[in-house]
Amino acid sequence: MTHPRVAGVGLTRFGEHPERTGRDLFAAAGLGALDDAGVDPDDVDALYYGNFMGELAEHQGHQAPLMAEAVGLDVPATRYEAACASSGAAVREAVTALRAGEADVLLVGGAERMTNIGTAGATDALSIAADDLYEIRAGMTFPGAYALMARAYFDEYGGSREDLAHIAVKNHDHALPNEYAQLQKEITVEDVLEAPMVADPLGLYDACPITDGASAAVLVSAEYAERHDLAAPVAVTGSGQGGDKMALHDREYFARTPAATAAAEEAYDDAGVGPDDVDVAEVHDCFTVAEVLALESLGLYDPGEGITAAREGDTHATGDLPVNLSGGLKAKGHPVGATGVAQVASLTKVLQGETSWADDVGDAEVGLAHNAGGTVASATVHVLEVVA
């Protein structure tokens, strides 16, 4: 097998750290991953780094060399930007390079500083993942965009705000034992339904919080892992990426995300698995409805069936297909450029049996990570498996 291994992972606690600079956040996550991996930092070939709003939040472009320096690496460093799928895209590029034999050890990660610019500033910065001329100038915000998708979903398939509320409740419950999560707080369906509206039909508790944080993972070639006798049982066995029209109005269906379907099909083929083989998933639930769209686009549920999965308990840790055991974006938090690698970090821990939910989940062997940008004009999907 030549699948790249996840040798180590590192996260900052996700949350409100408005005074912490991006470089400080990433240094903590990056050094954490290097220490966890136990690799010689001199062996790292390059940094693949995801970040979305650095120019707006920190007046800082060209962040990758800055981040490499922050973790003490003198290596080529490149920033990947695909809105909220930025570090998912970085993972994909790293996997490709490792498979091609272009590198043996890569640091992959992402960081985002958001709360320093406030809710209005972050809402503005997030909105630029949409088409400026034809969406933002028409009042589109990201909650607004997902609200348009939610209403279209209800119209096409049925479902209710209460169904969505169960997703928020489930993901908050999952985050309770996660010390890295921003919102370790139990909530009820009533809390969700009674929260102030952000963009109807989505309220405050349908939305992920605004988050500062960073994530990192050390990915190594299988050969390197073997040569150095690394304890790295989890491999990235499948990788896929999909694209779509930038503007929601140019898509045929507003309640489907074909970019994620294309990414998933590619990743499943790559890994030689199918949706039925997936034991656990981390999906991009920036809003409650986004989890539904993800489950259906990934082939885990048929169209129209994903809306009740949380309500029926299927996607809880105690259910058949635990989804977002970390708490997801909804409760763990969503420092956008860090999210894709944070999903890989969380899944790696779950597959290694290192989760507070291990007794409920049992021996999970196949994990799926779904990272989405914009209204899913970009999507990456990765399959992680226990291979050693």
């Binding site: 100038r137 028409a138 915000t141 607004g144 348009l148 209403r151 102030p196 509206m197 929601l248 109005h249």
Partner: protein, 128 residues
């Protein structure tokens, strides 16, 4: 580029809509899109013409945005909708209807209005 530079075909389109001569881009296969286009985003056709917007279209989905960006702070709450004009679909602000009364299927026409917050022009939909 300065902040006052026009955004080419976008501002040309808004001018045309203001003059009652709004248009979209249609390819040889009947797919609609918004300018500027050199190629149809749906099929790759480079055989493009400008076609007038129909008098009215139907709301496909809509939302009332309560938490706005700074550029829309004084507009909030406001309604954004995607409207189907047949070959082409457009996102815009819904004006002239109580937000509570906007529904999927509501019939509107395309127009240009101004943001209350900044005075900038925007695509708006009004009842027909």
């Amino acid at each position: 580029m300065t902040e006052t530079a026009r955004d080419g075909a976008y501002d040309d389109l808004l001018d045309a809509i203001e003059d009652g001569e709004g248009y979209y881009v249609e390819c040889a296969n009947g797919h609609g899109s918004l300018p500027p286009r050199r190629v149809c985003p749906h099929c790759g056709s480079r055989d493009l013409t400008e076609e007038p917007f129909p008098e009215a279209g139907e709301v496909l989905t809509h939302t009332t945005v309560s938490v706005a960006t700074p550029g829309f702070s004084e507009d909030a709450p406001y309604v954004t909708a995607i409207v189907d004009f047949g070959a082409v679909r457009v996102t815009g602000l819904v004006r002239g209807i109580d937000p509570e009364d906007v529904e999927i299927g509501t019939t509107v026409g395309i127009d240009v209005g101004e943001r209350e917050t900044t005075g900038e022009r925007a695509v708006v939909f009004r009842p027909r």
